[in-house]
């Protein structure tokens, strides 16, 4: 029966249905209309535009619900902190995270978010990396299985040229999450920094299997292979790297002269 109704009419009905259901705050109905429109007109730019606004509206309404119904909850503070971070309001965001920790000192993930905030703010000051490191270490005390915290500690150690710690941190992150491609990459790069070229090959090959189109990995793996005498294998990696970074400009042939 729906097929007998012209597509233009069905599309218009769906769009108006979203608007009406949002006007009366019938969120399940709005979601139904979104689902139907997406199914029948998924690639239509007008439909996508309306859908974006509808999801945005639903998101804002749910956030307001959270603020109204559970303003002191951990989720409310966390959402508020995220919004403040997006706006670059670093100090109020930090206070929100600290508020959570006052009430829930063992809450998982909050020290990590605090550490990430400290590293993200452009005015963090010279001690920001050290303060952030403390937050990541606290996170690991609460949640020793937090691969993210291990990874960032690895990055900080790498940047400080502390290859031993970087190797430990990255390898632990990879152990905690065996699909953490960038942890394997960091592990391999730290081993390269420590001139342990042979040892770097295995984690880098694992990283390559996980994300074969990441040029960072091919460069690092090629370097490890070159330094261990595997020149033919290295050349394959460099060829992949070149193909990934190609700008599709063929260039002039050798010896060609300009007009």
């Amino acid at each position: 029966m729906a097929a007998q109704v012209p597509a233009k009419t069905r599309k218009l009905a769906g769009v108006l249905g979203i608007r009406c259901s949002l006007a009366i705050d019938d969120r399940p109905a709005a979601l139904d209309f979104i689902r139907l429109l997406s199914r029948d007109f998924g690639g239509d730019p007008d439909v996508m535009f309306v859908t974006v606004h509808a999801y945005s509206d639903l998101s804002a309404r749910t956030a307001l619900d959270l603020a109204r119904l559970a303003p002191q909850s951990m989720a409310a503070h966390k959402l508020n902190a995220e919004a403040l971070e997006e706006q670059g309001k670093w100090e109020p965001a930090e206070l929100e995270y600290e508020e959570i920790l006052k009430k829930h000192p063992d809450a998982r993930g909050i020290h990590f978010l605090l550490g990430r905030l400290l590293l993200s703010r452009p005015d963090g000051g010279p001690d920001a990396p050290a303060r952030a490191k403390q937050e990541f270490l606290k996170e690991l005390e609460i949640d020793p299985g937090n691969a993210d915290a291990e990874y960032i500690l690895g990055v900080l150690a790498q940047r400080a040229q502390n290859f031993d710690e970087a190797i430990t941190r990255f390898s632990q992150a990879a152990k905690l999450d065996q699909n953490f491609a960038e942890a394997y990459l960091g592990w391999g790069v730290a081993l390269l920094g420590d001139k342990k070229y042979e040892e770097a090959i295995a984690p880098l090959k694992r990283a390559e299997r996980l994300t074969p189109r990441n040029p960072d990995i091919h460069n690092a793996l090629a370097t490890a292979l070159v330094r261990t005498g595997h020149k033919a294998e290295a050349e394959k990696e460099f060829a992949i790297l070149r193909s990934l970074s190609s700008t599709n400009h063929s260039g002039a042939p050798a010896g060609d002269r300009p007009q």
């Binding site: 990430r116 590293l119 993200s120 703010r121 452009p122 963090g124 000051g125 010279p126 920001a128 990396p129 993210d148 990874y151 960032i152 990055v155 940047r159 040229q161 999450d177 065996q178 699909n179 953490f180 491609a181 960038e182 790069v189 996980l210 994300t211 990441n214 040029p215 960072d216 990995i217 091919h218 460069n219 690092a220 090629a222 370097t223 070159v226 330094r227 020149k231 290295a234 460099f238 790297l241 070149r242 970074s245 700008t247 400009h249 063929s250 260039g251 002039a252 050798a254 010896g255 060609d256 002269r257 300009p258 007009q259």
Partner: protein
């Protein structure tokens, strides 16, 4: 089902932001200097040196890319009077620019009293095309420095007649290198005692090929990122010894690599006596052309670890240099890049591979937001250790509108060498290191013959900056002019080792380095407060190749050492 995890935490934006924020930490002065007179470099104003010439880029609404890349400059002693003269390159007439009145390059003769007199017209070196850079070399071994001017269009070879004039011999020599040429270097790749010529070629460009790209969020047209233009092969010309050259770009292997070359330095990375070439490319990987002998070069940049950034990406390589900064007997490499790419200092591992020491030396952090062009390793305070001077400036004259932390004009940077490492001393080194400029070329030379190496900076759309070095007064030195007889007369590729009490140092006379520029051919050996030089040993380049050790040397003056004579004059 296993899912690859990359995005949850490690999104590139977050990591790069955290790196950026950490790098923006203000640096504290390492030591305090109390008076302006203690600053190592002082700007010599035009009214004091008499250099009234200014560079004009001809900036247009169409944003033709060559407008952003010049100019180069040179110290040379064109009249062989023992005092460094100055050559400055300007833009000029081409298919997209027709200045009225016409623009010209400038040659300034050193009056030996701190002032200069322009002699361009008499010398006949005004050029007139859209100039980029200059390479100075005595290609015919007559003891007179000749000039090779690179241009967008075609290049010019000026032969020095020895009477204060030059003759344009480009056509006869066969070195016009049409297209867009940038840096060039004289060096003897085949060790026949004659200087050959390598010319960097940038992209395939013309008025018709100019792209209307670069519209950013400010709605204005910016200079294009060169990814939109085709890469081109560079040029290698073999010197035939009769005033002509043969284009050997293809048979040497040079032309097999398509690049977008800005900078070049001729050096010997594996101590085999054959001069290699390190070439920086913009948005294409850098090249390290290893000279395998018999006229052949092998490009080993990737295998050597100098082609890409640490994360495997081609950067915008611009200025380059080579020096044994850590004094381990092997030549290291340096390349300056665009903002948010960091510059790299590549330590030689002695096996034709390199590691980037940008992090350890602090160079990566200090240059993270900068764009580097002219640069040079030299011992500015004559304490015996190599230091590093960097001239900077973003190529996009509208960058300030779209980036809050990057500026068009940028201050130079100075790193002090300790013999094993480098330390950023820009903040306590005086006003010039706080002065934003649009620097491009950089040449080093001792224009007042006091043994302190001065600096000349080419400024895009501005007057050149001559910086007088005041840092060496308390230290002793010996300046040496090397004259090859069997080897090339300029002694490019010679290695000097010297000992003064506990100080033992080694220097190679590289070909070129920096960007679009050419340097004082003399070498100044600093010995700090030590009262004498015990010995100096010169290992002459091939085909000479012999080592000569000299003792009983004077200090605090310049001498000449002629190959094979075993003495100084």
């Amino acid at each position: 089902m296993d899912q690859v995890r990359t995005a949850r935490l490690t999104r590139r934006q977050f990591v790069s932001q955290m790196i950026a924020s950490a790098l923006l930490i203000p640096q504290r002065p390492l030591f305090a200097l109390t008076t302006a007179t203690q600053f190592p470099f002082v700007v010599v104003p035009p009214e004091a040196d008499g250099i009234k010439w200014k560079h004009t880029s001809g900036k247009s609404p169409e944003k033709y890319l060559p407008e952003s890349s010049g100019p180069g400059c040179a110290f040379l002693d064109y009249d062989n009077d023992g005092w460094m003269d100055i050559y400055l390159v300007n833009s000029g007439k081409c298919d997209f620019y027709n200045p009225n009145p016409p623009l010209r390059n400038a040659l300034y003769r050193n009056n030996r009293d701190g002032t200069f007199t322009e002699v361009t017209e008499k010398a006949g070196v005004a050029a007139g095309g859209y100039g980029q850079g200059v390479a100075v070399g005595d290609y015919d071994n007559d003891g007179l420095p000749d000039l090779y001017v690179t241009q967008y269009g075609k290049c010019i070879l000026y032969h020095n007649n020895g009477d204060g004039t030059f003759t344009d011999v480009t056509e006869k020599a066969g070195v016009a290198a049409p297209g867009w040429s940038s840096s060039a270097v004289w060096f003897d790749y085949d060790n026949d005692g004659l200087l050959d010529l390598f010319v960097c070629r940038f992209v395939d460009f013309s008025k018709e090929l100019n792209k209307p790209c670069g519209i950013h969020e400010d709605g204005l047209r910016h200079y294009c990122i060169p990814t939109v233009y085709r890469p081109m092969p560079s040029w290698l010309f073999r010197n035939n010894g009769d005033g002509t050259f043969t284009d050997v770009s293809t048979e040497s292997g040079i032309a097999s690599q398509l690049g977008k070359a800005w900078g070049v330095v001729a050096t010997d990375i594996n101590n085999d006596g054959l001069m290699d070439l390190f070439v920086s490319n913009d948005t294409v990987r850098n090249f390290l052309f290893l000279n395998r002998g018999k006229g052949k070069f092998e490009e080993i940049g990737e295998v050597a670890g100098v082609a890409y950034s640490a994360d495997g990406r081609a950067r915008s390589g611009m200025g380059v240099d080579s020096a044994d900064y850590d004094q381990d007997g092997f030549m290291d490499l340096f390349v300056a890049n665009l903002d948010r790419q960091s510059y790299s200092i590549y330590r030689n591992n002695h096996d034709e591979t390199f590691d980037d020491d940008g992090g350890e030396t602090g160079i990566a952090a200090a240059t993270y937001l900068m764009s580097g062009w002219g640069l040079k390793f030299f011992d500015f305070d004559n304490d015996g250790n190599l230091d590093l001077f960097l001239a900077n400036g973003n190529p996009d004259d509208l960058i300030d509108r779209i980036h809050s932390q990057v500026t068009y004009e940028e201050p130079p940077r100075l790193f002090h060498g300790t013999g094993k490492a480098l330390r950023n001393i820009s903040q306590q080194s005086g006003p010039i290191f706080e002065q934003p400029i649009s620097a491009r070329g950089l040449a080093i030379g001792d224009f007042n013959n006091d043994g302190a190496i001065d600096v000349l900076i080419g400024v895009n759309d501005g007057a050149p900056l001559l910086l007088r070095n005041t840092a060496s007064a308390q230290n002793h030195w010996l300046g040496i002019k090397l004259v090859g007889t069997t080897s090339n007369r300029d002694a490019i590729g010679a290695r000097i080792t010297y000992q003064a009490q506990d100080l033992k140092q080694s220097r190679m006379k590289v070909g070129g380095g920096s960007y679009l520029s050419s340097h004082d051919p003399r070498m100044v050996l600093g010995i700090g407060k030590r009262p004498r030089l015990d010995w100096v040993e010169i290992k002459w380049p091939l085909p000479g190749g012999k080592a000569e050790r000299l003792t009983d040397l004077p200090i605090d003056r310049y001498i000449t050492i002629i190959e094979g004579q075993g003495k100084w004059t």
